[in-house]
């Protein structure tokens, strides 16, 4: 597939990284310093030009593109680039990144001439809200209209012995779920029944939402439903998070240091309590009992501030902290200092956009552990060698089927179940094996 990407920032780079191996990619950006590293690392064409220029797009060969992605940080550039691409390559699928919720709404209402619109803010907000709904999880995503949930857990110390340290086939695993992968010190296994989980492992679980919740309580007992979340930072991301959480009936308190912005957020979100303060004032944290919140989300503009505030919040007793990271490197700092979940808006956005580059049969993709593993949602072809096999007889070749969607409803297959042609399967695999998996199914 020929792909033209406008914007070589973090989002653009992540997309290139995920797609360069199987596709022909051209990248357009105004900044040479962003293009050069891409050109050296990957086999892609780079064009130093303004993406909102028709000529630049023509030079980059937009007329032959199958997929056009405009993912600069500026909405207007993306929109203009996309409208040019629409004319030059009427058959190409177009994707824009936008930070304006209004554009997303317009796109959903069919009033914006692009095929897909992705908002970093909304994707981040959804990621945060999924984590908050599942406090023990490192990451979680849903498939098949919410019928299937994928969750990545840390196995804590002192976990239930009927679950941990017991071979999987004997362990008391919640119904309608299975362990897709066990990640132990950088190495990943796709477990058979004789494997067992150990303390300190990271596991990937697939199951119904109920089963996922059951896993959550097994691995993090005592973490009940969340009612009180404090969001630090009232920028676009923080506001989107607060709005999403409010929509789920979760009580939100938001802290914003800039007076005018605090006022704007308070006006925009009537159900949300907004405080105009820095968030790192211990007196304030004490007075407002921030420590009693069940979770805190750090969505301020600077990673260092978020880091400090998150640590302070933990000192004050907030049990669950989620940080929005802007610089990839910060993720390690956060994890080292004990922040429970980190979410990188650009990575989340890239992941959402990469979904459109896959085989047309592939409906959805989630990346785990950065971009090392992917979860795919693929429709099986009648010619696939796996069709007609019982699950227990399937060879494991670096991929594991976690669930199938048949006639619109999800099944979690047991060993005796048989894969049928036309089933949608939800598969876990390493990113490098994605093309093989798509081919084989």
């Amino acid at each position: 597939m020929r792909i033209v990407i406008v914007g070589a920032g973090q989002v653009g780079s992540t997309i290139v990284e995920a797609l360069h191996a199987e596709h022909d990619i051209s990248v357009i950006d105004v900044a040479r310093e962003r293009l050069e590293p891409l050109a050296y690392r990957f086999d892609v064409g780079t064009f130093e030009a303004n993406g909102a220029s028709r000529k630049a797009l023509q030079d980059a060969g937009v007329d032959k593109a199958d997929l056009f992605i405009a993912c600069t940080s500026r909405d207007e550039v993306n929109l203009v680039a996309c409208s040019f691409a629409r004319v030059e390559a009427p058959k190409a699928t177009t994707v824009i990144r936008t930070s304006n919720v209004e554009y997303i709404q317009l796109w959903r209402a069919g009033r914006l001439d692009v095929d897909f619109a992705v908002s970093s803010e909304l994707e981040t907000a959804h990621a945060v809200s999924r984590s908050i709904g599942m406090p023990a999880a490192r990451q979680t995503d849903v498939f098949a209209r919410g019928q299937v949930q994928i969750v990545e857990f840390d196995v804590p110390e002192g976990a239930d012995p009927s679950l941990v340290g017991t071979p999987l086939r004997e362990a008391r695993i919640p119904d309608d779920s299975r362990v897709l992968a066990i990640i132990r010190e950088e190495s990943m296994t796709l477990p058979r029944g004789d494997e067992m989980m150990e303390e300190g492992d990271r596991i990937v679980v697939i199951g119904s939402p109920e089963a996922a919740r059951a896993w959550g309580t097994l691995l993090a007992p005592g973490a009940g439903t969340v009612e009180d979340v404090v969001v630090f930072g009232g920028g676009q991301v923080g506001t989107a998070i607060a709005r999403t959480l409010r929509a789920q009936g979760i009580g939100v308190r938001l802290i914003e240091a800039q007076r005018e912005r605090a006022r704007e957020v308070a006006e925009e979100l009537p159900g949300c309590r907004v405080y105009n303060t820095s968030g790192i004032d211990p007196d304030f944290l004490e007075r407002e009992r921030i420590g009693q919140a069940q979770a805190a989300v750090f969505a301020m503009k600077e990673d260092t501030k978020n880091h400090y505030a998150a640590t302070l919040a933990r000192v004050h007793g907030v049990p669950f902290t989620i940080a929005v990271v802007h610089d990839t490197i910060s993720t390690q700092v956060y994890e080292y200092s004990g922040v429970d979940v980190t979410i990188n808006p650009r990575a989340v956005t890239a992941e959402e956009i990469v979904r459109f580059a896959h085989d047309p049969r592939t409906q959805q993709v989630t990346m785990l552990e950065g971009d090392r593993y992917e979860v795919l949602d693929i429709t099986t072809q009648p010619t696939s060698e796996y069709v007609g096999l019982r699950f227990r007889d399937m060879p494991i070749r670096g991929a594991m089927i976690g669930a199938i969607v048949r006639d619109g409803s999800a099944l979690f297959p047991r060993g005796d179940d048989v894969l049928q042609a036309g089933d949608r399967v939800i598969v876990f695999t390493e990113t490098s094996r994605v093309p093989d998996v798509e081919k084989v199914l």
Binding site: A262, R263, A266, E267, V274, Y275, N276, F284
Partner: protein, 516 residues
């Protein structure tokens, strides 16, 4: 400014510097007031027609037209020239227009030679009370006054209700000024609700609705008069339609509404309630058929709730104390609560003799008033609502000092300035009321009449709130005739201040208004 400083562009320099004009364009304002008076002078032709029909003297009306027209024309022409009527002149124009209107309205009373009204102070009081839709009167014997003159009295209230300037904006070919500032100064309430893009169309729609409602009330009253036993004839119906819709309160009968039957009284209750509602909202409900938004309006809900509570308290009290029973007690309670809260001032009973709780409730309701954008006077419900919300926020912020709490009305966030203005208005209003009550009480101690403290309070509250009747000698069947000229003048000022919602008049008394 010297041309060297700042190196300003020559053209810009020329525009800023040369017209060495006063901070306020007084000449232009007077010219505009003159023009308004010129047109207003034709208003007396309405009672003149009646006078011909009733074989009464037309001299007072035609004379008033002639004098007012001449003065108006003289002012308009005398101060004609390049004017710059802007934001600041708006206050002066509005304030002066209402003085001019009151003076013009007094002319027929003086010219008529009617013994109760021909003293200039009395005539001016009656006229000011008319235009400001107060309804306080110096008449002691209504029946002795010519019918055409009485109808003029009713008509002044109708003209003043929706506003003289709003009327001018609606019907005059063109005012040389933007109009928005004038409209804001004259229409009651903290902010105006535009019904159309052009101020003129907004003014037209408001007046149209006002005329339609008046016509509906007139028809209803006449219909009841035809069917019922003690209803109104066409003359009374017109007279009372003219004073119900502007929440005025003048009556063509000595005992106000008391002599009419229950159906008439209930109809008037309904129209008083309507007159106390926001006309822009009413327009949306009736003309654009969007009743949902009207029923959900926060101010309207509070308005109706306060009205209901007041009515229940009064009805219970007078029933309990034996002043009336059954439907009569309910009707009197509802009628009087509605009449005083909407600042109309009609009465079905001489409530001055009611028990203290009922009286206190009535006086308290005088301070509530109707909705913003209605024809009612006083503080207005919305300002009470805003004050309440501000206070609640203060309390919340005492505990949570960092919390940012925008105040919303009907889910819309309000400007902090609007909130401050509402609070300032209430403080000014109460301050003026206290001063007014003090002046009246002190003056009454020297020159009569015999007033209790609550009577003095009621007299100030009733005139400042444009309600009408007070308590004691100035009660619903009494008259303000017994007050000295000092008190009468003070009360005229209160009516004027009250009708223009204090601020446009008070700013004229500040030095910074007249200097740059």
């Amino acid at each position: 400014m010297s041309p060297t400083r700042g190196g300003a562009v020559a053209g810009a320099e020329r525009r800023i510097a040369p017209t060495r004009r006063a901070a306020v364009d007084i000449r232009g304002s007077l010219s505009l007031v003159g023009m308004l008076l010129k047109y207003l002078s034709f208003a007396t032709l309405m009672p003149a027609v009646l006078a011909i029909g009733y074989h009464e003297s037309v001299v007072p009306f035609v004379g008033a037209t002639a004098i007012a027209f001449t003065v108006g024309l003289a002012l308009e022409r005398g101060f004609a020239g390049a004017t710059s009527i802007g934001f600041r002149e708006g206050y002066l124009v509005v304030a002066l227009t209402w003085v001019a209107a009151a003076a013009f309205g007094a002319l027929p009373y003086v010219l008529s030679g009617d013994p109760q009204l021909d003293r200039p102070v009395d005539a001016l009081f009656e006229s000011m009370s008319g235009f400001t839709t107060t309804g306080a009167t110096v008449l002691t014997d209504v029946d002795a006054v010519d019918r055409s003159l009485l109808m003029w009295r009713q008509f002044t209230q109708w003209l003043g209700g929706m506003g003289i300037i709003v009327l001018a904006l609606a019907v005059l070919p063109r005012l040389r000024v933007g109009g928005r500032q004038l409209l804001e100064s004259e229409l009651p309430g903290p902010e105006i609700d535009q019904l159309a893009d052009r101020i003129r169309d907004t003014a037209r729609r408001l007046w149209l609705l006002y005329v339609a409602l008046t016509a509906a009330l007139f028809t209803a009253l006449v219909a009841i008069g035809v069917i019922g036993k003690d209803g109104m004839g066409p003359y009374d119906a017109l007279g009372h339609a003219f004073t119900t819709m502007p929440t005025g309160g003048f009556s063509t009968e000595p005992d106000s509404i008391a002599g009419f039957d229950a159906a008439t009284q209930w109809v008037i209750v309904v129209f008083m309630i309507v007159a106390g509602m926001n006309f822009a909202l009413l327009y949306r409900a009736l003309v654009r058929r969007r009743p949902g938004r009207v029923l959900g309006d926060e101010e309207l809900r509070v308005y109706l709730a306060v009205l209901a509570i007041g009515a229940i308290v009064i009805a219970t009290e007078i029933w309990d104390e034996g002043f009336a029973t059954g439907e009569r007690a309910i009707r009197d309670g509802v009628f009087q609560a509605t009449s005083l809260m909407t600042t109309t001032g009609f009465s079905t009973f001489d409530f001055a003799g009611w028990p203290t709780l009922a009286l206190m409730t009535l006086v308290a309701m005088m301070f509530v008033g109707g909705c913003a954008g209605s024809t009612a006077g006083s503080i207005k419900v919305v300002r009470h609502v805003l004050l309440g919300k501000s206070l609640r926020r203060e309390l919340r912020q005492t505990v949570h000092p960092e919390e940012v709490i925008p105040i919303r009305l009907n889910r819309r966030v309000l400007d902090e300035r609007t909130l401050r203005a509402a609070t300032a208005f209430i403080l000014l209003y109460v301050g003026i009321f206290v001063v007014g009550a003090g002046v009246i009480a002190v003056d009454a101690a020297f020159q009569g009449p015999d007033l209790t403290p609550i009577d003095a309070i009621a007299a100030a509250a009733t005139t400042l709130g444009n309600v009408g009747p007070g308590l004691g000698v100035a009660g619903p069947i009494g008259s303000f005739e017994g007050f000295s000229d000092v008190s009468t003048t003070a009360m005229m000022l209160l009516m004027w201040l009250g009708r223009l919602e204090v601020i446009p008049v008070i700013v004229l008394a500040t030095r910074r208004y007249w200097t740059n």
